[in-house]
């Protein structure tokens, strides 16, 4: 997982040559439909910076019909661009429609819709299915193949449960939940004000203000055992929701660090959980450092791994697992006795 974190050196949106060429071919029909559009709005619609749009315009007005005499060039009112920051484009009657969807574009969008489908219910889900059918039909024969060439499964719990969450979000009502807390391995009962549904790494979650914890909590949808909408309106909560694009790292950034020695049999742990550092050890295992916000999670992990993981630091961080194991052994002994 370590390699996957966003690096600041990443190319910003729309910077590659291919991306620009694709954008130019969409920009012309778009601007023909939106005469006088503000650069800022166009930039937002295309998901790039205003500077990028200005660069595009500088390319476009050098292009046109073969011959490129003044009457052949695409006409852009550059005074309006520099002055009011709006775009008037004309003399490009041959580019009235965008280029068809390429395979990568169709597949990316289809998978994104299927992901969203995994956490939605009823009307939204029907709209997704209709949109998918339409997109697959315009992407043509080729994309029927492409649409089948990748699949994303989202674990998002039962559909009736998702429908209840959606309903509560729409109407702004408080929810009553029965929820399985995996790290503590116990079932809890609580009232929450729903704020958002999100998908992260293949699981659907509900972000909500929790009255049991008295704070913002994320609930995995498939661990909600039962749910009910109450008649109570949600209260106002001034909380900042997690930036999903940062993954779980951000949520854990203030949690204490724990260093583990993983045997060869336990190296999968480095793939499954966010790691601060991963170093190969001589015996084919790994030395990993991870952030642990909940001691119960670490206890459960150490128990599951058996002897496959040892805590290197801080000293004693693994003792609660050893104690839990002793307690379980005592119980087996007592039952046998």
């Amino acid at each position: 997982m370590t390699e996957g974190q966003k690096s600041p050196g990443q190319k910003s949106a729309g910077q590659t040559a291919q991306a620009q060429m694709r954008r130019l071919l969409s920009l012309v029909p778009y601007l023909r439909k939106h005469d006088g559009a503000a650069i800022a709005d166009v930039a937002e619609a295309f998901g790039v910076s205003p500077q990028r749009i200005r660069e595009d315009l500088n390319v476009l007005w050098m292009c046109g019909l073969p011959g490129l005499s003044p009457g052949d060039l695409i006409d852009i009112d550059m005074d309006a661009v520099d002055g009011e920051g709006v775009i008037h484009l004309s003399n490009a009657d041959y580019l009235t429609r965008p280029l068809r969807l390429a395979a990568d574009e169709a597949l990316a969008l289809i998978l994104a819709l299927r992901t969203l489908r995994g956490v939605t219910a009823t009307e939204d889900r029907e709209a997704i299915d209709r949109a998918l059918t339409k997109l697959e039909s315009v992407a043509g024969e080729r994309s029927n193949r492409f649409g089948g060439q990748a699949e994303v499964a989202v674990t998002g719990g039962r559909e009736d449960l998702r429908a209840t969450v959606t309903d509560a979000l729409r109407r702004g009502k408080r929810l009553e939940l029965t929820y399985d807390v995996a790290s503590r391995a116990e079932t809890t009962h609580r009232f929450v004000d729903p704020l958002r549904v999100f998908v992260l790494e293949g699981f659907g979650y509900l972000d909500a203000w929790c009255y049991l914890a008295n704070g913002l909590r994320s609930f995995r949808l498939d661990r909600i055992a039962s749910i009910r909408v109450t008649d109570t309106d949600v209260a106002e909560h001034h909380v900042e929701l997690r930036d999903v694009s940062l993954g779980w790292f951000d949520a854990l950034k203030d949690a204490p660090l724990v260093t583990l020695a993983l045997d060869r049999s336990a190296t999968w742990v480095a793939e499954y959980y966010p790691m601060e550092s991963v170093t190969p050890a001589d015996d084919g295992g790994l030395t990993v450092t991870t952030r642990v916000s909940d001691p119960a999670w670490l206890r459960g992990l150490l128990l599951r791994l058996g002897g496959g993981a040892r805590v290197l630091s801080p000293e004693g961080a693994g003792d609660s697992a050893a104690d839990a194991a002793s307690e379980a052994l005592d119980q087996y002994a007592a039952l046998a006795g």
Binding site: R100, L116, V138, A150, A153, A185, G202, G306, D319, L329
Partner: protein, 341 residues
């Protein structure tokens, strides 16, 4: 692409789109800005590269004879009906879900593909308003280093070669990719093993290399990734265990099991703690179930089968032995703390 090159490619596209007849290369060289000043050799090279750029953009280039009497030189054009996005209309709800979904991809290259797909839809008159569904935030990530090369190989139908599980080199005709619980898998035809295989991307430490040209093989027309992934994934449950669970605890285990009828309870050889619920849990992999049960420590007691019970007790002993200081000492410290409070 330098601005000059982008201009040339766009001019070439426009030129081939507006022409009524197939244009020979010589004519293209005369009328498209950017080709005039090149030597014969440089022109040939540049023109070939530009054709490749068009192909990569998904612009369909038609090759035909421009002159029925002298058909020795091929001509080029772009057929408008193959170039243009067919008519598509989305209602407000459909446009909204597309707008929300388009924000999903966290992977840079695929996010770029989504962005340009959305730009095309906007250029076709669709106005995705994601604001209507502000409380939905989907995301798809692909952090495995092998993802991007495999994604392109799937799209291009190019054979790839990679190291798997830090050892063997595998050669695959990738048919497709699936993601489950946030992990990516590639499915295809393993040419050395002559069989359909599935590989987990996180187990491919190096960057897969292409070992063929594009369109090197055919993907089965009836490809069903979901059922293939299921058939290649770990087994369906074939055995079942009987486990006593503390009330309100080990919900994952409890949910996969079902309560045991009274007559079967009477037949059990081992006793269980008072008040615990006894459930039957189906499983495919004894090792995995053992780990899960040990994870619940004293909240779950295995009653049957005997092998699982022994394995769980063994693993508990291993973990109990990892204590950093002796239990007796720790217990003293613990009670001293209690006393101070």
């Amino acid at each position: 692409m330098a601005p000059r090159k982008t201009e040339r490619i766009l001019n070439l596209t426009i030129c081939l789109l507006v022409t009524r007849t197939f244009l020979p290369k010589s004519r293209i060289r005369e009328i498209v800005d950017g080709y005039h000043d090149l030597s014969d050799q440089a022109f040939e090279r540049t023109f070939e590269r530009d054709k490749e750029e068009l192909r990569k953009l998904g612009i369909p280039l038609q090759v035909g004879s421009y002159d029925p009497l002298f058909d020795d030189e091929p001509g080029y054009r772009i057929e408008r009906s193959a170039f243009e996005l067919p008519p598509i209309e989305l209602d407000a709800e459909e446009a909204a879900v597309v707008g929300v979904a388009a924000r999903s991809w966290q992977h840079t290259a695929v996010a770029e593909s989504t962005r340009s797909a959305l730009a095309k839809l906007r250029a076709a008159g669709i106005e995705p308003d994601a604001g209507r569904l502000a409380s939905l935030e989907p995301s798809v990530s692909a952090n495995e280093p092998a993802f991007e090369p495999l994604w392109h190989a799937v799209l291009d139908r190019a054979r790839v070669s990679f190291t798997y599980r830090g050892g063997e080199t595998r050669t695959l005709e990738p048919w497709g990719m699936t993601s489950n619980k946030g992990r990516w898998y590639v499915i295809g035809y393993d040419t050395a093993r002559k069989a359909t295989r599935m590989f987990k991307l996180s187990r491919i430490p190096d960057t897969p290399r292409r070992v063929s040209k594009e369109a090197a093989y055919d993907v089965p027309a009836d490809l069903d990734l979901r059922s293939l992934a299921r058939s290649l994934a770990p087994d369906e449950p074939r055995a079942s265990a009987i486990i006593a669970i503390r009330p309100g605890r080990a919900p994952g285990l409890r949910r996969h099991g079902r309560g045991l009828p009274a007559e079967r309870l009477e037949q059990l050889t081992h006793a269980w703690p008072q008040g615990f619920d006894v459930v039957e849990v189906p499983y495919a992999d004894a090792g995995y179930l053992c780990e899960e049960v040990v994870g619940y420590a004293a909240d779950a007691v295995v009653l049957e089968p005997a092998e699982l019970r022994v394995a769980v007790i063994d693993q508990l002993r291993t973990v109990a032995a990892t204590r950093s200081v002796s239990r007796r000492y720790a217990a003293t410290v613990g009670s001293a703390e209690e006393a101070v409070r």
